[in-house]
C-alpha cells in the first residue's frame, strides 16, 4: 500500500528522513518557520492563523467604522464623499461579518473542537488548510477592491481604454452588505458583449466573487467540523457529554452547510445578470428583484445565528468555570441551541416586512420571530441560573462574558420589538435597527469572542494576558459601545435614516450623533488595546500554568502550549465536564494504551491546499477585471480554474502520507491537581 507509514516512530518531525509523496515531490513535513506555517495541517496552528487574520480584519473594519462615525460627528460634514461613504459602510459590514466574526469563530472551532472531544486532529487536516487559505484568498479579493479604488482616486488608470469605458467608478463595493437587487443588478437589454447596463460599478463584482470564495471556505470548514465532532470523539465522549462550545460548533456548522447554498445560488444568478446578461433580477426583462431579498435572507437570517451561536457556546464554557458550578440545565441549553438553529431558517422574511408580503405571511413570520426569542431567553435564564449562588471570580473573561449577557439581552429586547410588523415598519431603515443589531453583534458576539480570546489565550500560547490592561480595555469597550450605540435607539426613533452620508442641522440629531462618535472612538481604542494586549502577550507575556482557571473541559488537562499531537494517550471519558470531575469529582479520566514509543499518527504537511486556494485567488481577481473589460482578464479566470483543478488533483494524488511521532510516556495522565490549580 502506498499509504503506508514508512518510518519508525520519531521523537520530533525534524528527525524524519526526507520523504517523497506518491507524486515524487518532497513532503514539507520537516519545514520550520514560515514554510511550516504555510504548509501546516495542524488544527491549532490553523486556528491561530484564522485568529490573526480575523483580528487584523476586525481592526480594518473598525477603521472603516470610525471613518463613518467621523463623517457623522456633525451635520453637513464633508469628511468623506457620499460615494466613499457608501463604500465604507458596505465594506464595514462585509468585513466585520465575513472577515472578522466568522473567521474568529472558525479560529475557536479549529483550536478547541479536537481538544474538547479528545481527538488528535480534525477529520480532514488538508481540507482544513484549504479552508483557511481559501478564506485568505476571498478576503484578499474583497479588499483588493480598495486598492483599485485608491488607484482610481490617485488617477493611475486614466490612460487605459478599459478605464475610460467605465460608466460607474465605485471600485469598492457600495451596495450595502446585502447588495439588494436591482441596485446591485442590471437593467435594460444586454449588448453584444453580453453586458447589460448596471446601477453600480465593479465593486459589486468584487463583492460577488469575494463572498462566493468565502462561502467555499466556510462550507469546506463546516463539512470538516461536523465530521470531526460526529466521528472523532474519544471513548466515552457521548453527544450529551460534549462541551457546549462543541455543541454550538456542530449546530453552527449545520447552519452553514444548509444556509450558504442559498447565497451561493443567488450570487451565481447575480453574476450571470451582471456578466452574461441574464435576467434573474433585471426588472426591465421581468426579473423580480424581491427574489434576491428572499434568497439573500434565507441565507442571511441563519447567518445571524451562525455569528451568535459560537459566542453563546463560549459564554456557556466561561460562566460555569468562574462560578465554580456546572452549567445550569445543560440539556436545555443544547436543545435551545438546536431549536434556534431550526427556527433560524423560518424567520427570514422579518427582514422584509415592509415589502408588502401580505397579511398572512407577515403574521406568520412575526409569530415565528417572537417564538425564536423563547429558546434564546431560555439560554439567558440558564446562564443566570449558572452564576446564581456561585463563587464568582471576576477575571477578564468573566467580565466580558457577563457583559455579553447584558448587552445581548438589550439587543434581544429591541429584536422582539422588530418582530412586531407594524412597529417594524416604523423602524425599518432607521438608526434604531443599527442600534439593535450592533447590540446583538457587537455587544453580544464581539464581547463573547473577546471573552473567549482572554479565556483560552493561556492555553493557546501558555502565557497569561495582563489582567490590568484587560480590565481597562473591557471597561472601555463596554462604555464606548453603549455610548456609541445606545443613542442610536433614540436617533432612529427620531427619524434618522440609515445609509445616508450626512444630515442637516435642526433635526435634533446633532448632540447624540456627536456622543455616538465619541463612544465609537472609545470603543475603537478599547478593542485595539484588548487586541494589542493579546499580541504582546503571545510574544512577551508571563508564562502561566497549564490550568490557570481551574478549567472544566478536556483542553485544560493538556500542557500549554498544547503539543502537536494533543493527547499523548487518547483519553477515555466517563462524565460531562470531564476534567473538573477528574480533579474534584469521582470520575477520573482514563487513558488508552496508545502513543508512547509506538508513536501517534501525524498527518503530513502539504502545499496542495494552498495551491488550490491560489486558484481561487486568480479566479477572484480575474472576474471583476473581466467585468471592467480589462484585456485578457477572461484568460486569467480560465488559468485560475486550471490552477484550482490542478491543486485538487495533485492533492488527491500525493496521498495522505503521515508519520509516527513518539509521545512522552510520563504525561499519560493530567498533572496533579495541586500543581495546576492556581485559585481555590
Amino acid at each position: 500500500m502506498s499509504h503506508d507509514t514508512h518510518h519508525a516512530p520519531v521523537a520530533s518531525k525534524l528527525d524524519l528522513a526526507p520523504e517523497r509523496s506518491d507524486l515524487g515531490l518532497l513532503r514539507p513535513d520537516r519545514s520550520t518557520g514560515l514554510m511550516d506555517w504555510l504548509t501546516t495541517v495542524d488544527h491549532k496552528k490553523i486556528g491561530i492563523l484564522y485568529g490573526a487574520f480575523a483580528m487584523f480584519f476586525f481592526l480594518l473594519g473598525g477603521v472603516e467604522a470610525l471613518a463613518i462615525r467621523t463623517q457623522l460627528a456633525r451635520p453637513d460634514n464633508d469628511f468623506v464623499t457620499a460615494r466613499m461613504y457608501n463604500q465604507l459602510f458596505t465594506m464595514h459590514g462585509t468585513t466585520m461579518i465575513f472577515l472578522g466574526v466568522m473567521p474568529l469563530s472558525a479560529a475557536f472551532f479549529n483550536f478547541l473542537v479536537p481538544l474538547q472531544i479528545g481527538a488528535r486532529d480534525v477529520a480532514f487536516p488538508r481540507l482544513n488548510a484549504f479552508s483557511l487559505w481559501t478564506f485568505v484568498a476571498g478576503s484578499f479579493v474583497l479588499n483588493a477592491s480598495w486598492l483599485f479604488e485608491f488607484g482610481h482616486l490617485a488617477g493611475w488608470f486614466k490612460d487605459f481604454a478599459w478605464y475610460k469605458s467605465l460608466v460607474y467608478t465605485d471600485f469598492a463595493p457600495a451596495n450595502g452588505w446585502f447588495s439588494y437587487a436591482p441596485l446591485s443588478g442590471t437593467f435594460g437589454q444586454a449588448d453584444a458583449a453580453l453586458h447589460a447596463p448596471r446601477f453600480t460599478g465593479v465593486g459589486t463584482d468584487f463583492w460577488i466573487i469575494g463572498i462566493q470564495i468565502l462561502g467555499v471556505a466556510s462550507l469546506a470548514a463546516s463539512f470538516n467540523f461536523i465530521c470531526t465532532i460526529v466521528n472523532m470523539r474519544a471513548k466515552g465522549m457521548t453527544m450529551m457529554r460534549l462541551p457546549v462550545f462543541t455543541w454550538m460548533t456542530l449546530v453552527t456548522s449545520f447552519l452553514i452547510i444548509l444556509a450558504f447554498p442559498a447565497i451561493t445560488v443567488a450570487l451565481i444568478q447575480l453574476m450571470f445578470d451582471r456578466q452574461f446578461g441574464a435576467n434573474f433580477f433585471n426588472p426591465s426583462a421581468g426579473g423580480q428583484p424581491i427574489l434576491w431579498q428572499h434568497l439573500f435572507w434565507i441565507f442571511g437570517h441563519p447567518e445571524v445565528y451562525i455569528l451568535v451561536l459560537p459566542a453563546m457556546g463560549i459564554v456557556s464554557e466561561i460562566l460555569p468555570t468562574f462560578s465554580g458550578k456546572s452549567l445550569f440545565g445543560y440539556p436545555i441549553i443544547v436543545f435551545s441551541g438546536a431549536v434556534i438553529g431550526f427556527l433560524g431558517f423560518a424567520v427570514w422574511s422579518h427582514h422584509m416586512f415592509t415589502t408588502g408580503l401580505g397579511a398572512v405571511p407577515t403574521a406568520a413570520f412575526a409569530l415565528l420571530t417572537m417564538a425564536i426569542a423563547v429558546p434564546t431567553g431560555v439560554k439567558i435564564f440558564n446562564w443566570l441560573g449558572t452564576i446564581w449562588g456561585g463563587r464568582i471570580r471576576f477575571t477578564p473573561p468573566m467580565v466580558l462574558a457577563l457583559g455579553f449577557i447584558w448587552m445581548f439581552m438589550c439587543g434581544g429586547f429591541s429584536g422582539v420589538m422588530h418582530s412586531s410588523a407594524p412597529a417594524d415598519s416604523q423602524q425599518q431603515d432607521s438608526y434604531f435597527v443599527i442600534a439593535h443589531f450592533h447590540y446583538v453583534l457587537l455587544g453580544g458576539v464581539l464581547l463573547g469572542l473577546m471573552a473567549g480570546l482572554y479565556f483560552w489565550f493561556p492555553k493557546i500560547f501558555g502565557r497569561m494576558p495582563k489582567a490590568s490592561v484587560a480590565y481597562v480595555a473591557s471597561g472601555m469597550v463596554i462604555l464606548g459601545f453603549n455610548l456609541a450605540f445606545g443613542p442610536m435607539h433614540y436617533l432612529g426613533l427620531a427619524g434618522m435614516p440609515r445609509r445616508t452620508h450626512t444630515y442637516h442641522a435642526g433635526n435634533g440629531w446633532e448632540t447624540w450623533n456627536f456622543v455616538a462618535t465619541i463612544g465609537a472612538f472609545i470603543l475603537g481604542i478599547g478593542v485595539f488595546l484588548a487586541f494589542a494586549n493579546l499580541v504582546w502577550t503571545a510574544f512577551k507575556g508571563e508564562k502561566c500554568a497549564s490550568d490557570p482557571w481551574d478549567g472544566r473541559t478536556l483542553e485544560w488537562s493538556l500542557p500549554s502550549p498544547v503539543p502537536e499531537y494533543n493527547f499523548a494517550r487518547s483519553p477515555i471519558i466517563s462524565a460531562r465536564d470531564a476534567y473538573i470531575e477528574h480533579k474534584h469529582g469521582g470520575h477520573k479520566i482514563g487513558y488508552e494504551n496508545d502513543g508512547g514509543e509506538a508513536g501517534v499518527h501525524m498527518p503530513s504537511q502539504s502545499w496542495m491546499p494552498m495551491l488550490a486556494s491560489f486558484g481561487f485567488l486568480i479566479i477572484g481577481m480575474g472576474m471583476p477585471m473581466m467585468a471592467m473589460s480589462v484585456p485578457h482578464a477572461g484568460w486569467m479566470v480560465i488559468a485560475g480554474v486550471g490552477i484550482l483543478f490542478t491543486g485538487i488533483w495533485l492533492w488527491a494524488l500525493e496521498g495522505p502520507g503521515g508519520y509516527m511521532l513518539k509521545t512522552p510516556t510520563g504525561s499519560a495522565s493530567p498533572s496533579p491537581v495541586s500543581a495546576t490549580t492556581s485559585t481555590h
Binding site: T5, Q189, S222, I257, P261, V265, I268, F280, L291, H601
Partner: protein, 221 residues
C-alpha cells in the same frame, strides 16, 4: 498497523468512514443548492407562463420548444449509468478490478452521451431563439440545467481519473472501495437531481393541452 494509523481510517465514533460522512454532508448542502435553483425556475414559470419572445419578436411556448423524446432518451441513459455505477461499486468491494474498470467505463460513456445530448439541446434551443439574455425563462432554464450539467461533467472527470488511477495498481483494498463508493454516492445524487429536474422542468409542461402552467391565453379548444 499502518491502516489503523491512517487518520481517515482510524475507527470512528459512528462506524461510518469520514469520507462517506463528508460526502453525505456535501450532498445535504447540494440539496439546498439545487432546491434554490429549482425554486427560482418554478417561481418564474408560475409568474410568466407564456414562455419567451425571441429576437424577432416571435412568441414561443415552452411545450413546443422542448424535444421530449430526446430528453427522455438522455434521462434513460443517465438512469442506466447509475445502474452501472452500482455494479462498479459492488465490483470494487469484491476486489474485481477488471469488472470495476468495465463498468466505470460504461458510466463514463453514458455520462458523456448525456452531456452530448445537453450540448445538442442547448445549441438547438439557441437556434430556436432561446438565449440566456432574451427572457427570464432562458436565464433560469440554462443556469439550472447548465449547473446540473456541470455536476455531471465534474462526475465524469472524477470517474475518468479513477479509471486511469486503477491502472497504477494503487486503487484497491478498503480505501479503494471507499473512494469508489464515495464517487458513486455523488453520481447517484446527480442522477436523482436530474429525475427531479426532468419532472418539474420538462414533464409538467406536457400536463394538459397548455401545460401545467397554462399559457396565460384562453385554453385551446
Amino acid at each position: 498497523m499502518s491502516q489503523v494509523a491512517e487518520s481517515s481510517h482510524a475507527p470512528t465514533s459512528t462506524g461510518i468512514d469520514h469520507k462517506k460522512l463528508i460526502m453525505w454532508l456535501f450532498l445535504a448542502s447540494d440539496c439546498m443548492f439545487f432546491g434554490t435553483l429549482i425554486s427560482t425556475h418554478l417561481i418564474y414559470r408560475k409568474l410568466y407562463p407564456t414562455g419567451f419572445t425571441d429576437a424577432e419578436g416571435h412568441q414561443h411556448f415552452v411545450q413546443r420548444l422542448f424535444d421530449i423524446e430526446l430528453t427522455s432518451f438522455s434521462t434513460f441513459i443517465l438512469l442506466m449509468s447509475s445502474f452501472l455505477m452500482a455494479l462498479a461499486v459492488s465490483a470494487m468491494h469484491k476486489g474485481q478490478i477488471k469488472s470495476f474498470r468495465r463498468n466505470v467505463l460504461g458510466v463514463i460513456i453514458f455520462g458523456l452521451i448525456f452531456l452530448g445530448c445537453q450540448v445538442y439541446e442547448f445549441t438547438h434551443f439557441y437556434h430556436m431563439g432561446l438565449t440566456i439574455q432574451n427572457s427570464v425563462f432562458g436565464s433560469t432554464f440554462y443556469v439550472l440545467t447548465g449547473t446540473h450539467g456541470t455536476h455531471v461533467a465534474i462526475g465524469v472527470l472524477w470517474l475518468i481519473l479513477l479509471y486511469f488511477y486503477s491502472f497504477t495498481g494503487k486503487l484497491g483494498g478498503h480505501v479503494g472501495a471507499l473512494d469508489v463508493e464515495v464517487a458513486g454516492l455523488y453520481w447517484h445524487f446527480v442522477d436523482i437531481v436530474w429525475i427531479i429536474i426532468f419532472t418539474v422542468v420538462y414533464l409538467i409542461e406536457y400536463l394538459g393541452p397548455n401545460g401545467f402552467w397554462g399559457t396565460g391565453l384562453p385554453i385551446a379548444k
